[in-house]
């Protein structure tokens, strides 16, 4: 057996040179050997997974139902606690974070939006600022600003109830609510999954523009490869709680892996022509 020794660095390296690791990337979320298992299930939902999410990137977690995508998302804001390993957010393990504080500074958008039906649109959007005890004038200003960002005219929509909105409008409010306290991280769990195809496509395109403009770190869960290719700056493919592929969208389809193939086959139309 033969091992290559790492080359010995010259000792006289200039002292003011930045360490190499921070010059490459700036991870805002890190999974370090994370396993998540539940009682009564032999296979863990997440198995010794390590990866990092860099500041400002849009990472799409792609995978079938049950591949562990949502579990991974919920480990980030401590809705779930790892059975082994660590999830590090902004340099601190989620176990050291106060769960409430951590969550208020991570936006979260889910399918069907999960808006509070007894709140107006404005109250929904202003929820996190209110929890953080902003004064009402500042909340009102922020709410208007956020509604405009997601393309809803405050005058028309602020006082409506979620039941008086269309599915697409509800999802817009969901995004505005997640941005409430201006979090640097946004977690999105199939946010456009329940919308009709036309509205979904509109929102995807608008959102991809919005994501560029806001410069947030986004972790986006989907089972739709088309959506992943459109929105991602990096796609991570999960299978049975493990990462099987990780690549930029333009390189993703070239990866030789059965699961990548299975997903790329979904892009084919019935006639066998690429869509």
């Amino acid at each position: 057996m033969h091992y290559d020794r790492p080359p010995i660095r010259p000792v006289n390296r200039p002292r003011d040179e930045a360490p190499i690791s921070s010059a490459i990337a700036d991870p805002i979320i890190e999974f370090r050997g994370v396993t998540y298992s539940v009682k009564g299930r032999s296979a863990p939902l997440i198995a010794e997974l390590s990866m990092s999410v860099n500041s400002g990137e849009t990472l799409v977690l792609l995978g079938r139902s049950g591949s562990g995508k949502t579990t991974l998302l919920r480990l980030i804001n401590r809705m779930l606690i790892p059975s082994a390993g660590q999830v590090v957010v902004k340099g601190k393990s989620t176990m050291e974070w106060d769960a409430i504080r951590l969550r208020r500074h991570i936006g979260y958008v889910i399918q069907e939006a999960g808006l509070f039906p007894h709140f107006t649109v404005a109250e929904n959007v202003g929820l996190v600022p209110k929890l953080d005890k902003w004064d009402s004038a500042r909340i009102a200003k922020r709410t208007d600003e956020l509604l405009r960002i997601v393309g809803l005219e405050p005058k028309e929509f602020a006082q409506r109830r979620p039941a008086q909105l269309s599915g697409g409008q509800r999802q817009r409010v969901g995004v505005a609510r997640a941005l409430g306290a201006d979090p640097s991280i946004l977690l999105m769990d199939e946010p456009f999954g329940a919308l009709d195809p036309v509205t979904r496509s509109e929102l995807q395109h608008e959102f991809s523009e919005l994501a560029c403009r806001l410069g947030k770190t986004i972790v986006f869960v989907t089972h739709d490869l088309r959506e992943a290719l459109l929105l991602a700056s990096r796609i991570v493919l999960l299978q049975n709680g493990r990462i099987v592929a990780s690549a930029k969208p333009q390189d993703f389809l070239r990866i030789e892996h059965a699961e990548v193939k299975a997903f790329s086959d979904t892009l084919q139309t019935v006639a066998g022509e690429p869509a």
């Binding site: 804001n77 809705m79 769960a99 409430i100 504080r101 951590l102 969550r103 208020r104 500074h105 991570i106 979260y108 889910i110 399918q111 069907e112 939006a113 999960g114 808006l115 509070f116 039906p117 007894h118 929820l127 996190v128 929890l131 109830r161 039941a163 969901g174 609510r177 409430g180 977690l187």
Partner: protein
């Protein structure tokens, strides 16, 4: 003597019996709400206690009302003849609908709403008071409405153990074989139940979301 003339000649007596009846119902319902609503909130997170308390409340409801009054009379402190025993029995009757609806209301909330609330960084107390309770209010009120109507009915039987109220006329009328006297108790009791039902339905509709 027609029922109508009896009611006219005894109107002040009927009126005061009606007030007694309303007082019985109001006191019993207040106690039942104070017990059942917090208990319903408490058992949401505690499955063992939930089975036990819902089971016990169901048992009380299956006991025929007259038998329940009978069981309570020999019990020291809460028993005996008079309104106190009646109130205890009425409370036991009213518990189940309120308890069950509180529990169902708090647990039948859209899971996406609760997930969002948790992910927004709301504490458990904030989720209970700001999300679960307001959304469950309509269903809890429906339980209170059912319990109120039941209590108005059962309270007529409380006259059998000397609690007063509109049942007094019904029992007296049965003993006298007089339709007029029976109806002097039965009609106001029925009207009371209908009125309470309508009133609470109105409040419920205003508070129910969507």
């Amino acid at each position: 003597m027609t029922p109508w003339t009896f009611m006219v000649t005894h109107r002040s007596e009927i009126w005061s019996a009606t007030l007694d009846h309303v007082a019985l119902v109001l006191i019993a319902m207040s106690i039942a709400i104070v017990i059942a609503v917090p208990l319903g909130m408490f058992i949401v997170q505690r499955p063992a206690l939930r089975t036990f308390s819902l089971g016990l409340a169901s048992v009380f409801q299956t006991i025929p009302s007259l038998a329940l009054f009978g069981f309570l009379i020999p019990i020291p402190f809460i028993g005996g003849i008079g309104p106190r025993t009646a109130i205890v029995a009425l409370v036991l009757y009213a518990l189940l609908p309120i308890l069950r609806n509180t529990y169902v209301g708090l647990t039948s909330i859209d899971p996406a709403v609760l997930e969002a609330a948790e992910a927004m960084g709301m504490t458990n107390t904030q989720i209970l008071t700001g999300v679960r309770l307001p959304l469950a209010l309509g269903i809890i009120l429906a339980g209170i409405r059912t319990a109120t109507v039941i209590t108005i009915g059962v309270a007529t039987i409380a006259a059998a153990i000397g609690a007063g109220g509109l049942g007094t006329f019904i029992f007296r009328g049965v003993a006298m074989v007089s339709d007029g006297v029976i109806l002097a108790g039965a009609i106001p009791a029925a009207l009371l139940a209908i009125l309470a039902d309508l009133l609470l339905a109105l409040i419920e509709r205003r508070l129910r979301v969507q």
